[in-house]
C-alpha cells in the first residue's frame, strides 16, 4: 500500500542521485589516474636522486648516510634490483646482517641473474650457519661469475660446506 501511495517522482529522484554519484566517482577516478602517472614518475626521479646521493656517500665512506639514502631510493623504487643490491651491500658493510639478507634476497627475487647478490648472500648465510642455503647460492654464483678468482673462492666454499651436509 505504501508503494502505491509513493510519489511518482520518487524513482526519478533516485536516478538523479545515482547519476550524480556515478559522475562524481568517475571524475575522482579520472583525477587519480591523471595524477597517478606523474606521481609515479616523480617517485622514480626521486628514487634515482637518492640512489646517486647514496652511492656518492658510499664512495666517501660515509656509510650511515649512504645506507639511509639507498634505503629511501629502494623504498621509492622497490622493483629495482640494483638498488636493493646496493642497500644489501652497504648494510653488510655496516654489520647489519639481517637487513643485508632481506635486501639481497629481494634483489634476487627481482633479478635472478644478479651475480653479486648470490656471492654476498652466500657469505651472509654462512655466517648464520644456514649451510644448505649458502651452498645453493654458491652454486648459482659459479654459474654466473665472470671473475676466475671468485669462482675459485666459490668452489672452495662449496667443498667446505659439503663436508657439513
Amino acid at each position: 500500500m505504501r508503494r502505491l501511495n509513493a510519489s511518482p517522482h520518487r524513482h526519478d529522484r533516485f536516478s538523479t542521485r545515482r547519476l550524480a554519484f556515478l559522475t562524481l566517482t568517475l571524475v575522482s577516478l579520472g583525477a587519480i589516474f591523471a595524477g597517478g602517472v606523474p606521481a609515479r614518475a616523480d617517485a622514480l626521479t626521486e628514487a634515482n636522486r637518492h640512489y646517486r646521493t647514496g652511492l656518492a656517500y658510499e664512495r666517501l665512506g660515509r656509510l650511515d648516510q649512504a645506507y639511509t639514502e639507498l634505503q629511501l631510493a629502494a623504498n621509492l623504487n622497490p622493483s629495482n634490483a640494483a638498488m636493493a643490491l646496493a642497500v644489501g651491500t652497504v648494510a653488510s658493510h655496516l654489520g647489519r646482517w639481517d637487513e643485508a639478507q632481506r635486501a639481497l634476497e629481494h634483489s634476487i627475487a627481482l633479478d635472478a641473474a644478479s651475480c653479486a647478490s648470490y656471492y654476498e648472500l652466500a657469505l651472509v648465510y654462512e655466517s648464520k650457519n644456514m649451510d644448505d642455503r649458502s651452498l645453493e647460492n654458491w652454486h648459482r654464483f659459479t654459474l654466473l661469475a665472470l671473475d676466475d678468482t671468485l669462482k675459485a673462492v666459490a668452489r672452495k666454499h662449496i667443498a667446505h660446506l659439503e663436508t657439513h651436509l
Binding site: L55, E58, A82, S92, C115, A116, A145, D147, V153
Partner: protein, 210 residues
C-alpha cells in the same frame, strides 16, 4: 799363495751398496709417525699462534679439541703433543667491486662480457666496466669481506717429530666466521691423521634385562 784371502780382501762394494740403498728406501717409505702411537695422543697443548688474530685462532682450536673429547692445556709440560702455528692472513677489509645494473665488462683478452650486477675481485682478472646506470658512469659499490689463512702443525712433545701439518684459508662476512671455518677445516684434516678419542661408554642405569 801369498797368504791373502781374495774373498776377504776384495771389498763387497756391490753388496754393500745394494744394502745401503735398500735401507734408504725403507727409511723413506716409513711414515714419520711410525714409532709413535698417535692413537695414544689424548692431551694436547695449544700454544699461542703467531701473527695477527693468533689468540682468536688458538681459542678456536681449543674449543674444537675440547668438543672432540681431547684434553687441552696451554702448557706443554704434561701434554702428549703440541699444537702451534701461524696466522698468515687476517684481514677484515678485502675489497670486491660490485658493478650495479647490467654491466659490460672487458677482460684482459679483450673479450666483452655482459652480466647483471657482476662482482669482481680487485686482485683478480682485469675487468673494466662500460656503460652507465641512471646517468652514473660505472655505478658501483665496494663489498668488504674478511679472509683468514692459518698454518698449523702438531708435534710430538718428547721426540719433537711433526705428526701433522696443514694450511687452510677461508673468506667470510667477518673475521669470526672466516677463522671458525678455517679452523673447522683444519680440524677435519687433523682428525684424519690423529684418531678421534672414542666416545665414553654409555652407562645404562636401571634394572638389567633378564
Amino acid at each position: 799363495m801369498n797368504g791373502r784371502c781374495p774373498v776377504a780382501l776384495a771389498p763387497p762394494w756391490p753388496v754393500a751398496l745394494s744394502a745401503l740403498l735398500a735401507c734408504a728406501a725403507c727409511a723413506t717409505k716409513k711414515p714419520a709417525t711410525a714409532s709413535i702411537d698417535v692413537s695414544r695422543i689424548r692431551h694436547i697443548a695449544v700454544l699461542p699462534f703467531a701473527g695477527p688474530g693468533g689468540p682468536a685462532v688458538a681459542n678456536e682450536f681449543i674449543r674444537e679439541l675440547l668438543a672432540a673429547g681431547l684434553s687441552v692445556s696451554q702448557s706443554a709440560d704434561e701434554a702428549d703433543a703440541v699444537l702451534s702455528g701461524n696466522v698468515t692472513d687476517y684481514r677484515s677489509n678485502n675489497k670486491l667491486m660490485v658493478y650495479l645494473g647490467q654491466s659490460t665488462l672487458v677482460n684482459g683478452a679483450g673479450q666483452t662480457l655482459t652480466a647483471s650486477n657482476p662482482v669482481v675481485s680487485t686482485s683478480g682478472a682485469p675487468l673494466n666496466a662500460k656503460g652507465s646506470l641512471f646517468g652514473l658512469p660505472n655505478a658501483q659499490v665496494v663489498f668488504i669481506q674478511s679472509s683468514v689463512n692459518v698454518v698449523a702443525h702438531l708435534s710430538h712433545r718428547s721426540s719433537g717429530r711433526v705428526l701433522w701439518s696443514d694450511e687452510f684459508g677461508y673468506e667470510g662476512i667477518d673475521l669470526a666466521t672466516a677463522s671458525q671455518a678455517a679452523v673447522d677445516q683444519l680440524m677435519q684434516s687433523f682428525f684424519r691423521a690423529i684418531p678421534r678419542p672414542a666416545p665414553p661408554a654409555t652407562v645404562i642405569r636401571g634394572r638389567p634385562p633378564r
